[in-house]
């Protein structure tokens, strides 16, 4: 890519130029540099440049005992942090053979799904902000505020949760939580109408999102795209259904799937996923068992030699942790496979010869969070 920049003087003969959608830009959700080779209004070749927010989380995971990595998991993807917590905690439990009480599993599922709804609400607002509509983000934030208040009451934080522990959760939920969650579910179901009328049916939005950035199923599999982007292309792959973990098999929910694989389908998949998450939360609240929320865990967890892998469904796709232990409590290798990395990798192919506003629309619909790419 840098050799391309050297060629700029040659390109000027052909009327092409380089444009930096720089690290500081209102539309790239985080610090992402996309070098665009442009011909007039058309983007010929977008090349993402990563690494501006590399904070060495994996190295931190390899230099402290496994208990000490918990706060880092929330800081990688701060928009939807609880599934990250969930993945790491389940990984260590699988490795060390720790059992989790039923009530704790239910609480984990409820809070993870609430976080997923919050993440999708934020995505909806941010996508429309990229497209130029300034109000839906504030309506989304209004709803999200309720979720954040509910989760603050039980976990103590609003964004970077450190709530799950090996063997359960930090503290129990009470009736106030259950009531507030039920009230929120009722409230969000009434608000669907607003989003429907203001956004989904809006002709300007449809024209900006229909038939833009079509990801074919073959291309999605080649690049390793997961999550709502994959489901928008027609492949019904959801880790919660295909490789179930925790207590997801006990709940009845559907996996929404799109048809064409354009931005509008990805949008519809995420909106439907919000409803499915609400269904899961309702069922979990109805069948919440009693019992302890934490099981007894040794103070120092020794990781037996060998490797271990655990995958969860984060809001953006498949998140998996890979651990190699060496007998001590400090992992030898901790590798985190984040969904946005693979989702971003299809951008050079998708962005060949499109208009700049379309590129913005595609990047918005892929739901990238750059800090998790760079870890």
């Amino acid at each position: 890519m840098y050799s391309k920049i050297m060629r700029e003087s040659q390109l000027q003969e052909h009327n092409r130029f380089f444009l930096n959608m720089g690290p500081q830009h209102p539309s790239t959700h985080g610090v992402l540099l996309v070098v665009l080779e442009m011909d007039g209004e058309y983007v010929l070749d977008p090349q993402p440049v990563l690494g501006f927010i590399h904070r060495m989380h994996e190295k931190m995971g390899e230099s402290r005992p496994c208990q000490g990595f918990m706060p880092n998991t929330a800081r990688m993807d701060y928009v939807c942090a609880l599934p990250y917590n969930h993945g790491y905690v389940s990984l260590i439990e699988k490795k060390a053979g720790i059992k989790v009480p039923k009530r704790a599993e239910y609480i984990r599922v409820i809070t993870s799904e609430l976080n997923r709804v919050a993440s999708h609400l934020l995505w909806l607002g941010a996508y429309l902000l990229d497209l130029g509509a300034f109000t839906p983000i504030l309506y989304g934030f209004d709803d999200r505020e309720h979720i954040l208040d509910i989760l603050e009451d039980v976990t103590g934080s609003r964004l970077t949760y450190c709530y799950y522990r090996f063997g359960g959760v930090y503290q129990d939920i009470d009736d106030k939580f259950v009531e507030a969650t039920r009230a929120f579910i009722k409230r969000l179901r009434k608000r669907y109408d607003i989003y429907e009328k203001l956004v989904t049916k809006n002709i300007i939005f449809i024209k900006r999102a229909e038939n833009i950035g079509i990801i074919s199923p073959d291309m999605a599999i080649r690049y390793g795209i997961t999550g709502p982007n994959l489901r928008g292309s027609g492949i019904a792959y959801d880790i919660r259904k295909n490789e179930p973990y925790s207590v997801y098999p006990e709940f009845d929910f559907e996996v929404p799937v799109g048809e064409r694989g354009d931005c509008l389908d990805r949008y519809m998949v995420r909106v439907s996923e919000m409803e499915q998450s609400l269904r899961i939360i309702e069922q979990a609240l109805d069948t919440l068992p009693d019992g302890p929320v934490r099981s007894k865990v040794p103070k120092k967890i020794k990781l037996a030699p060998g490797d271990c892998n655990f995958a969860v469904e984060a809001a953006r796709g498949e998140l998996s942790y890979y651990l190699v232990g060496d007998g001590t409590s400090v992992p030898y290798r901790l590798k985190i496979r984040v969904p946005s990395y693979s989702n971003l990798s299809c951008l050079p192919e998708l962005g060949q010869g499109i208009l700049l506003p379309d590129l913005v629309s595609i990047m918005g619909s892929l739901d990238l969070v750059i800090p998790e790419i760079d870890r």
């Binding site: 539309s27 109000t135 309506y139 024209k207 900006r208 208009l355 506003p357």
Partner: protein, 314 residues
């Protein structure tokens, strides 16, 4: 005459301040929050304080720019939009100058705005600004035609170019009832001419970091800002004059002078509508914008003229 010009110019500043405040308050309440609240009672002095801040900023002129063009851009953007206000009849006796070809004068003045944007974009020596400027030129040129054609329908009915006589011709019935299609086309094209959302690609914030006025700071930026609001006011007042009956309304004492009250009510109603549109819809993509103008607005306005001409003949 000079007195009227001075009054108009000072009035414009006040008006832009009022509109800016109104826009921020409406934007706030649409988003379920209060707008500015700190300065003055409910933030009414906010724009004044903003103006003072902008005036106090350093006037940056980047290296490698064409200095004349760079400085000329904001001036060229602000001045021609004041001139149309000289011919608009605010009330029966309040009109600075009644030109025989008032409407033609207005249209020609608003076309200079295109050049101002081009000058500003080119003179900034910045890829983003150039982008914004080129988009603005294509957009403005494309949307001038529906404006002219919808105005033509009213001219056919009123038989004159002079604004005063057009208002007087609406004594019995306002033209909006006779020409609803022309009104809609005029409003849409007017919003596009002033580069307001959903047609605000030249200054698309999330794509091009402020488009053609990226490089301007302080007074230059505020001149663009004032120019945009005044342009909106001009579009709304021309729409009021042509379609909503100008200063006609239930009679008031000193009716010849106080017709201005009805005029302002109508203008601010239209401005409220234009502000609401900005905060509701996402941005239209560039080629869809041109598509819309050429494939939808122009045929409909031509058909409108045809029908008007046929009906008048009969």
């Amino acid at each position: 005459m000079v007195f009227a010009v001075i009054i108009i110019i000072s009035f414009i500043f006040l008006n832009a301040v009022m509109m800016g405040y109104l826009e921020r308050k409406i934007a706030g309440h649409v988003q379920r929050r209060l707008g500015p609240m700190e300065v003055g009672f409910h933030g009414i002095l906010q724009l004044v304080v903003d103006g003072v801040k902008l005036v106090g900023k350093e006037l940056l002129v980047p290296v490698n720019v064409d200095r004349t063009l760079f400085r000329l851009g904001p001036i060229l953007s602000f001045t021609p939009v004041i001139l149309p206000l000289l011919v608009i009849p605010f009330s029966e006796k309040l009109q600075a100058r009644d030109l025989n070809l008032g409407l033609l004068f207005i249209v020609s003045m608003t076309s200079i705005n295109v050049m101002a944007i081009l000058v500003a974009g080119w003179g900034s020596n910045n890829k983003y600004s150039m982008f914004g400027a080129m988009r603005a030129v294509a957009q403005s040129i494309a949307y001038e035609i529906p404006i002219l054609l919808s105005m033509l329908a009213v001219i056919l009915m009123a038989n004159t170019f002079s604004l005063k006589e057009i208002v007087e011709a609406q004594q019995k019935i306002w033209f909006i009832l006779l020409q609803p299609l022309a009104f809609i086309i005029y409003i849409i094209s007017g919003v596009a001419e002033t580069n307001r959302a959903p047609f605000d690609l030249p200054e698309a914030e999330s794509e091009l970091t402020a488009g053609f006025h990226t490089e301007y700071s302080g007074m230059g930026f505020s001149l663009f800002f004032l120019g945009e609001y005044t342009n909106m006011f001009t579009v709304a007042s021309v729409a009021t004059v042509l379609f909503l009956g100008g200063w006609h309304g239930p009679t008031l004492p000193y009716g010849e002078y106080l017709g201005i009250v009805w005029f302002f009510l109508k203008v601010y109603f239209l401005l409220f509508f234009m502000i609401m549109i900005r905060w509701t819809y996402p941005r239209v993509r560039f080629d869809q914008l041109l598509n819309f103008a050429w494939k939808y607005l122009v045929p409909f306005s031509l058909a409108n003229i045809l029908i008007t001409a046929v009906v008048i003949k009969l």
